[in-house]
């Protein structure tokens, strides 16, 4: 595994690792870590750093839905064009072209179910190439981007053992 791969694994696990800690764990110098991170960002390999939030533990109401989208293409309009248009909406958090029964899988976020419904019906459905939307509201999130939420497992090992 290269040092870059190692850094990526560590950042995926916890993007808040300090440069000093990353250096400690990889045997690189802090300068080398900084240079590698700058290059990864520059190349767009690292596209951003975000927290994984369990909204159910906050007072804030966040409603999420996954939306299956079917589209039709014509000579002038490809998947990329449609994606570009849909991705501009701030409500759209994730947008992927997928294989199978539908074309796009979209994750949408709003402050209420009504808010999300209005967005789908007034902004997404009217896009000319969109032929069908199927919306699934998220009821509970158990795991998000590899992190198990609500995981209060205690360390039940003996505190000192051979």
């Amino acid at each position: 595994m290269t040092a870059r791969d190692d850094l990526l694994d560590l950042l995926v696990e916890d993007a808040r690792h300090t440069t000093a800690d990353l250096a400690r764990m990889t045997d690189l110098t802090e300068n080398e870590v900084e240079a590698a991170l700058a290059a990864l960002e520059e190349e767009g390999v690292v596209a951003g750093y975000q927290a994984i939030v369990d909204w159910e533990r906050t007072d804030r109401e966040v409603v999420r839905a996954t939306v299956e989208l079917n589209v039709t293409l014509d000579r002038e309009t490809g998947y990329g064009d449609i994606a570009e248009r849909l991705a501009r909406f701030p409500q759209v958090k994730t947008l992927r072209l997928v294989s199978g029964d539908y074309d796009f899988l979209m994750e949408v976020e709003g402050s209420s179910m009504h808010d999300v419904s209005i967005f789908i019906s007034e902004k997404v459905a009217p896009v000319p190439e969109v032929t069908q939307t199927v919306t699934h509201y998220v009821m509970t999130t158990y795991k998000d981007r590899g992190v198990v939420l609500d995981d209060d497992d205690e360390d039940d090992r003996l505190s000192v053992s051979p």
């Binding site: 595994m1 190692d6 694994d9 560590l10 916890d14 800690d21 250096a23 400690r24 764990m25 990889t26 045997d27 360390d155 090992r157 003996l158 505190s159 000192v160 053992s161 051979p162």
Partner: protein
């Protein structure tokens, strides 16, 4: 009193770890770096195989030697990984953890009064095991100056030339020391020259970060005088499933099995099915765990360096063994650190006199806790 305890049991003092465990248990805010087991769970495929074996009602004894399928898988695994060639029928015995394998081997090989040289610092069970088997332990200290590696000089000066057996463990608990094939060769030469049998505990073989593991049994003339121990507890995070194995020439395995069959009958069946699946399909999980331990190891070594705490570069297992950075004894330092900062590390002398002046620090703990523990350690020594 009708029930008088045996002399050889009274001769063994309570484990130094036990006392420290009780101290640590007294408070609930302790970050423990005193844990000698993985903080991961066994790979899901192995757990699933255990569940499946129960659902199928596989709840009876297996052969004393263990499931043949498992012994075949072990035989293939040690051949692939360590170039060890042991036949599944007569040269491999599946046991209830390596601890049972070591105990049974000592009882099978030690006659009253036989001397067993134990390389220290050592896993806490070796010396008591020798005493329970009726043998005389001979402590062979290793030094930090030698990176806790065993040398013929250390064997010579401890008087091991007259011993009957040599008990060693590399990668080592508690020091994290490893030995390469080149470094083991002079030890092997000493054993051949003085006709010593070798008990080689290689339970941490998979957890080696800068070299590939070499078993002493692969060196010329060593296979016939060595019992190799390995198991599933550490690499596969299966400590609670209690599954290990011993490998040796047929007559030796037959003798160890004789002790095992009267004492244990057979290793737990459920655990054997879990182990079989672990060998078949869990290489990726092991690799991921080893990568994670390696990152933590680098982190901890680097933090000790920054604090100016002398700690040789441990290359195996999941321990580092820093020097106590004050004038206190290891026990006094560890107790102070626990009481004042709520960080548990095990005093090195719990692993034999050779460990005095050191602490065993386990990094089988998540990075957030490691980071906090090292910060508290720093606060303690500067405070």
């Amino acid at each position: 009193m009708g029930l008088e305890t045996a002399d050889r049991v009274r001769a063994v003092p309570p484990s130094g770890i036990r006392r420290f465990f009780e101290l640590a248990e007294e408070r609930d805010d302790v970050i423990s770096l005193g844990v000698g087991e993985p903080d991961f769970s066994a790979p899901w495929a192995a757990r699933d195989a255990a569940i499946d074996s129960l659902e199928r009602g596989r709840t009876s004894y297996t052969s004393n030697r263990g499931l043949l399928e498992l012994r075949e898988a072990i035989s293939g695994h040690v051949d692939d990984r360590y170039d060890l060639d042991y036949g599944p029928d007569e040269e491999i015995l599946v046991t209830t953890g390596v601890s049972e394998a070591v105990d049974a081997a000592l009882r099978a090989l030690v006659d009253p009064g036989d001397t067993v040289a134990v390389v220290e610092p050592a896993y806490i069970s070796y010396v008591p095991g020798v005493i329970f088997a009726g043998g005389e332990p001979l402590r062979v200290p290793t030094r930090e100056a030698d990176e806790f590696k065993l040398t013929p000089e250390a064997l010579e000066s401890a008087g091991a030339a007259d011993a009957d057996l040599l008990m060693l463990c590399y990668p080592n608990n508690p020091t994290g020391a490893v030995m390469t094939g080149e470094e083991l060769e002079p030890v092997a030469e000493f054993c051949r020259e003085h006709d010593l049998g070798v008990l080689s505990d290689e339970i941490y073989a998979e957890l080696q970060y800068e070299n590939e593991h070499t078993s002493i049994a692969t060196l010329p003339g060593m296979r016939e005088r060595t019992v190799v121990f390995n198991g599933f507890s550490k690499a596969y995070a299966m400590t609670g499933l209690r599954l290990g194995y011993a490998m040796a020439p047929p007559e030796v395995v037959t003798a160890i099995n004789r002790v095992h069959q009267y004492g244990m009958l057979s290793a737990p069946t459920t655990a054997q099915y879990a182990a079989l699946e672990a060998l078949r399909s869990c290489d990726d999980e092991v690799e991921a765990m080893v990568d994670e331990y390696d990152r933590r190891r680098r982190f901890v070594l680097s933090r000790f360096d920054e604090m100016g705490v002398d700690c040789f570069r441990a290359r195996g297992a999941f321990y580092v063994f820093p020097e106590v950075p004050t004038d206190e004894s290891a026990e006094a330092f560890a107790e102070g650190l626990l009481k004042e900062q709520g960080v548990a590390m095990v005093p090195g002398d719990a692993f034999g006199d050779g460990g005095e002046g050191h602490l065993r620090v386990s990094y089988a703990t998540g990075l957030d806790d490691l980071r906090e523990a090292m910060d508290r350690f720093e606060a303690y020594i500067s405070g």
